[in-house]
Symmetry: C3
Subunit: 482 residues, 3 copies
């Protein structure tokens, strides 16, 4: 039941009402699929083709005519033709005057042409209302009804009426139209299906860089150093031990980097004394990909949890426990129970578990359908309050991991401290600054700035007081959004 | 591509069509952001301001006029002004006659004023059509396009035409309008963005109460009792052992409480002999937050799983295993394999794993996007059939945990039974009653009642037979919804 | 705030505008709930009943009249009556001429009647415009506002205007209308709420068959064989050991079966030399339920992970480790560390963890709300590229599990090889064929075919060149969708 219209055959419709006729230029895969779908949804379909006699494989029930004949049959024409072949439109300018042309074409590369296909078409046929739509839908998905990926159809065009006409058709086909404004948005719409996770690129590169750095750092400390100093062959640690050191470190650093831009933004606002200055571009971009950064961090945290839980069934660990026990028995050494060690180990694990649990909650509320159900206040509560609690727990988990040996001299190998100590720098910095920012005196100043108050400009102060009085409370729910 | 309209600059539109003009009262953050967004989506925007000359930071392309001048330019006016400053509207009643006023304001507290801002506005300007909308959208989200939280715009108003006009604008901005009825809904809409998880409050308080009770119960049995009777220092158990006893107990009790109201409702219906009596308020409320109860229970179950899987890498556990082995070797005691113990332990764990797996499935089908894909029959199958199977598995897991020592005299400390025995009371009760309810004779009676049949009233019986015959089968798919 | 209209009482509306009146036939549960909801959303409601005087429990504010009187009050009538009682409509044909009849009825069984209820109604009242809608919404959900399951209302009908009228009402009630085409779709819409996971049936049956086969296979090898040959009682393995062997095998085979149809389709296309032949029906069906197959496989993989992580706290495992250590100590045997074993074990686990992690990612992107956010290129990247990487990692994990003992003579019991060796057959086959298919020469041929090129038919080649030139690039983004 996911696909609409599929089982309805309009030819047998026992309604006296006249069907709406649509025209499709181009008898390629997409044109045919679109035609079939429209036939199933109750439209009459006329195909326009260069060689109407030779067109095959068309859905039964559809007519095939030459371009100009087909165009006369309907006031809405879907252009399922490659941009390189648009030049025949020049001959049709008369026929197409006042009609709606729906450009469904895609390109092969991002920004392949200086102007978008739809704008190009609008220049060729100035009398027609060009609307860009349907390019994000796949022919196969239209045909099979398996719309697993997006049901969304981005629509843009300069003529509002034409646009609404197309959006109605989108709705009738069981898809979701999204108005994207004027035809200038066509370029972006044409680039959209060619993009590959643009928002994820920065988080991925950053986490890859962090992983590689900490991987080699750990290799030097844990594999090369023992080999050089004690001739130990620790290479088997490459499979689990080293990743299980690199992943949690990367996760913690990324999580801290999620909350660093908010802290920087607050400092900037405090320093400037106003919120009416734009943040620098890098900060804006950073703030927009915080969600992706957080989800990548969650991935690493998840891997860390699984690797940690696997520890007791590793061959090396079992061998070592066996030998420790054997040595203890043979040497008849006593092994007294240390309550402080039990405390330290247990609380270290408990902090990690609770941190991971909150982290998972953050991840779940990032799911589009869940975040759609909550209001902004709830979303901010989860992402900000719970987020900082997660950061605190994970940082405490890492500190407790170090435990007693923290910064002891034995922790240095070739003057390199343990990797987890490096990992603590950014989280601790973020937490310390945040702690300062939530102190009442500074928090009040920040809140006032975010409500529209300005410190430095005397003129705008007196002025904006009038304004901000008027509107401040409208916004104050969203005031501390950053 | 999540945000619509962002790259479209309407000023360069090469369309001959006239743009629609909207007016925005108030040049604060929200007014400006809304204006910018509307400009990007192809509207002409006129700001109304107290001091038109002094307004700054407005988006380029927008005009600024005095309130009355601006109001004359458009028949739709967005009121982005704080309620305290609404009194100037009294002077504008003439100008605003027949126009649409869209109240976008929010308050600082829930139920801050006796009547909603929108109703207050409607009283001030009786000739205008007041529509409440956009108050749940944030200025920052409009501006940055990062609509992570709700895209939903709740709309209400007494004039259907005006409401539809506003809903069209909402759609054009790429948001989702939701009609909430007449202007009486404005109060609820204004309270909405100030709420903080209202449906989750009861589940949270309940689970917190359960946690605290069982925590102290376990502290008395597992820490204070050993300390008093054997001078053992077991405080380190506070970090993992006690939570890992409290969390599964809370999870099991909460899960049972999810299914208890349905069972109570069935008994009530059987007792009353009709389904046409309202349930008491507490039962209604309880039934509406079952989903939240279940998800909180799932959270506790998840923590229990992680804590359990961490057991073998705990310091205390490793120390005990080492010492047990050492003692065994030194005393040369034989350690025969007990098949029955292996069976008991393994089946206890297996039941827990399967229960947790089904519990996770229940949680996943609670995700809004997943539950939107299934029909009611499927949803009820998962939530009811799988839910009870989960409860059975988890109860069996707890019973098997007790195993042989169940209710043995050694289980009592200071006459207190093990905590898990207390935890079993509610689940077992629910399961026993459910077992009685699904017996054919009772199940048939219940089904008949839920199809509209009434036992007690002779009159309504003969009457409703006519009716219920007519309509019963329409409903019977949903009959046993509870 | 999930439910719209609930707190709005239209009777107190201070608007001068006239309310729209709707008529509801039938005063059963669904009729009453629908009426209440419509009253709350601002409609005037008139009920039509057989015994208007005797109808009780109706929402206050609604009028009750006889069928023919009620029908005259409104031009839109909701028919909440069981199909068996439709015959009274024959007397109303005059009154209902030109009116909209909305059939909301459901049946008890799939395909209970030769034609759908809505079509039956259309035959009885030929002059009316019959629209099928609202049958997937439950009375209880309408009343309580707890629309946890579908908000979607499937609408179909032959008259477009009538259909749009009904879709407007659906929107006003806060639900999502989905146009399903002409009235011929009514049968499918009526069957929809009676379905129970139709797409999941094949994956479930397949995985059940695989589970049962491998379960008995493992029972023979691991329980019956040791019992017969060594009189060992291994029955306790039924609880965890055997499931933890059966589940990963089933998961791996199912995962391979997700990617097998795509490979078969590619071979078929290469063999036929064209993409313009339909695939056989079984292949089409198989390809449409790949997502479900994959999710079932993920469920088994999840169970495998949890069972594996539980290993070290099993009674049997602890007993064995204790005894091994004791034996080692007592016999004073040396236990040298084997770096190659450590490598093998660790990399075997690491492969499994990474495979499971990618598998989870695949599962998360299958969530409807997530897959709605990505474009086709991203969806295909995740499902195809990451999917094959998952298959490679999981297959490598299984191969590494075998390790040194792979196909050694000791692995055979009663000439039966280990179960995991059987499990490797399909995944390895799929991977080998895929490896051949991605070789440049074959990949190029396949790409050309998928762009519309045809090998065999000389005529259609010259012909389709014209066409495919025109349209190929429109599609090529989706070319290799399979």
């Amino acid at each position: 039941m996911e696909n609409s219209c599929t089982n309805a055959f309009p030819l047998t419709m026992n309604s006296s009402q006249k069907q709406e006729t649509v025209c499709i230029f181009g008898t390629g895969d997409f044109g045919r699929s679109l035609g079939l779908k429209m036939l199933q949804c109750g439209y009459a379909v006329v195909f326009g083709s260069r060689n109407p006699q030779m067109s095959s494989l068309l859905p039964s029930g559809a007519e095939v005519l030459s371009y100009s004949e087909a165009a006369q049959k309907s006031d809405i024409i879907f252009v399922a033709i490659h941009r390189d072949h648009y030049n025949f439109f020049i001959d049709l300018t008369e026929v197409l005057k006042g009609k709606i042309l729906v450009d469904v074409s895609n390109n092969l590369k991002i920004n392949q042409y200086p102007e978008s296909n739809a704008e190009h078409l609008a220049q060729l046929v100035p009398g027609a209302h060009v609307v860009k739509a349907f390019n994000t839908v796949s022919a196969w998905a239209l045909q099979s009804g398996a719309l697993d990926a997006s049901r969304q159809v981005f629509v843009c065009g300069n003529d509002t009426k034409a646009k609404h006409r197309v959006m109605d058709i989108v709705l009738t086909l069981g898809l979701t139209p999204l108005d994207q404004g004027s035809l200038l948005a066509a370029k972006e719409i044409e680039n959209y299906p060619l993009q590959l996770f643009p928002m994820w690129r920065f988080p991925f590169c950053l986490s890859a860089a962090l992983c590689i750095f900490f991987f080699f750092y750990c290799v030097i400390r844990d594999i090369i150093y023992p080999y050089v100093s004690k001739k130990q062959d620790n290479t088997f640690r490459l499979a689990i031990s080293i990743p299980n050191r690199v992943f949690p470190i990367t996760a913690l650093v990324l999580l801290a980097l999620v909350y660093l831009p908010g802290v920087i933004a607050a400092i900037l606002q405090l320093y400037r004394g106003t919120k009416y200055h734009r943040f620098p571009g890098w900060l804006d971009h950073w703030m927009l990909c915080r969600k992706q950064l957080g989800l990548v961090a969650l991935g690493f945290a998840f891997l860390h949890v699984i690797y940690t839980l696997l520890i007791p069934i590793r061959y090396y660990v079992r061998w070592r426990i066996r030998n420790t026990t054997a040595t203890q028995v043979i040497s008849r050494k006593d092994d007294p129970f240390s309550t402080s060690s039990a405390w330290l180990y247990d609380s270290y694990m408990s902090l990690g578990v609770l941190g991971f649990f909150l982290f998972l909650l953050l991840g779940i509320t990032s799911l589009p359908s869940v975040s759609n159900m909550v209001n902004w206040r709830e979303f901010r509560f989860v992402q900000s309050k719970l987020g900082f609690l997660t950061l605190i727990l994970c940082t405490a988990h890492t500190v407790a991991y170090g435990g007693k040996k923290f910064l002891g001299p034995s922790a240095l190998r070739w003057y390199l401290p343990s990797a987890y100590i490096l990992a603590l720098i950014i989280p601790c910095t973020v937490l310390v600054i945040k702690l300062i920012l939530v102190m009442p005196c500074i928090d009040n100043a920040l809140t006032r700035i975010r409500q529209g108050w300005e410190r430095n400009s005397k003129y705008s102060k007196s002025l904006s007081f009038g304004k901000s009085n008027v509107s401040s409370n409208v916004e104050c729910t969203w005031a501390s959004e950053i």
